[in-house]
Symmetry: C2
Subunit: 213 residues, 2 copies
DNA sequence: GACGTTTGGTACTGGATAGTACCATAAATA
DNA sequence: TATTTATGGTACTATCCAGTACCAAACGTC
């Protein structure tokens, strides 16, 4: 009564259960390889309800992708505005970014999503802009602040963010998408991030040696 | 009689026609969305022949991916050993790399391939190592030579190659895979490559200003 | 030009599954 | 408690498609 529309709490629970089950199954077997029968087997309930809530199979897929996007976004948003010194902050950002990007779930979501982009062009924008770009926007605004505070040479903060995240992610994403069940060692990730940050700093005329926090 | 096995020229022609048709259709509609009926409609001939030559539908897919890999590799191999000055050579490499990576076909191949990796893990290795890594190996050996010739600070040529190609490709690949029918402007690519090369040089302690060819 | 292999075309089988219809039941609401 | 709404379950339909069988025709080989 408080809201314009009353939503049965059962509906919400069903919705969540179905999306969760479908997400796992889609990632595991692909969209075409998953039947709605499998989804109900996992989520409980009956196919009837799926059609009631999502219209059809594509509706379920769309809901799953939006859910995955939200998950990535929420992790990205956890990037903390740090008041550490520049180099330490960048290393911190880099490691957080890599942790997220190399998570098996992230990789699975990306594969699933990319596979179906041609049939769902609209979802492309959603996933890329709301999901993947969240971190980049955050980093760009960080550089913008550092530039105006005089901690970083003035220039195009957006380009700096692009170069920074490119150096950080290198081709770990593509490689992980290509190799099933391969995951980089945390140790390697760390040293990669440090090397990338230092190269980034030198690339902007800063000397990492003098910035050891 | 000259070879161990005689291959009917008809077979070869059929093979090529089927792969070409399947490649286009798979890229357009995905693997699941393409029926072998559609393939024969496009390639001519009959389904019978497909089964004769490829065993089953998965066999066709595998052949298509190998074909795509070969196409990418062959373009990558066209990277010419240049005896230009360092900066000019890197810009040349960068532009060639980007031209290849942003070609609509390359993007379509990658999407197609990534979508099905989980079912064809072996193809992952093939596509990544024979296809995508060809360019990187080439660049790494280039840096190795430049290092021993004293044109480039000594260090790890492989890491240099990773950073170089990461800066060059940035996230054009992911963005193009996410956005259907979007293509970067050639003008933007050029300026991006130059900015990336200069940042790369500065990151290795070289001054691009003094290297204008 | 005769022989053997490869291909085309058609028709069939078997299995799988998206989507629908319907009724009974469980849960919320008043 | 009565009424409404969402859900479960089952059974059905309609379709689509991979894979197979078979025969006749085209082509390459010798």
């Amino acid at each position: 009564m408080s809201d314009t529309k009353k939503i049965d709490p059962r509906t919400l629970k069903r919705r969540e259960a179905i999306i969760a089950a479908a997400r796992e199954l889609f990632c595991e077997h692909g969209l075409a390889g998953t039947t709605l029968e499998m989804v109900t087997a996992e989520a409980g309930g009956s196919r009837r309800t799926i059609y009631e809530l999502f219209g059809n199979k594509d509706g379920v897929f769309e809901a799953v992708i939006r859910d995955c996007t939200g998950r990535i976004t929420s992790v990205m948003s956890d990037l903390e505005m740090s008041d550490m010194p520049l180099r330490a902050a960048l290393i911190h950002y880099g490691e957080t970014l890599m942790t997220l990007l190399t998570m098996p779930d992230t990789i699975r979501y990306m594969r699933l999503f990319l596979a179906e982009v041609p049939r769902f062009p609209k979802l492309g924008k959603v996933f890329y802009e709301s999901g993947l770009m969240t971190g980049r926007r955050y980093i760009a605004s960080y550089f913008e602040r550092q530039m105006s505070d005089g901690n970083f040479p003035k220039g195009n903060p957006w380009q700096a963010a692009v170069f920074f995240s490119s150096l950080i992610k290198a081709d770990y994403d593509i490689r992980q998408m290509s190799y099933i069940d391969w995951e980089p060692q945390e140790k390697d990730l760390r040293s990669h991030v440090i090397a990338a940050v230092d190269m980034f700093l030198r690339g902007h005329g800063l000397d990492p040696e003098k910035m050891t926090s």
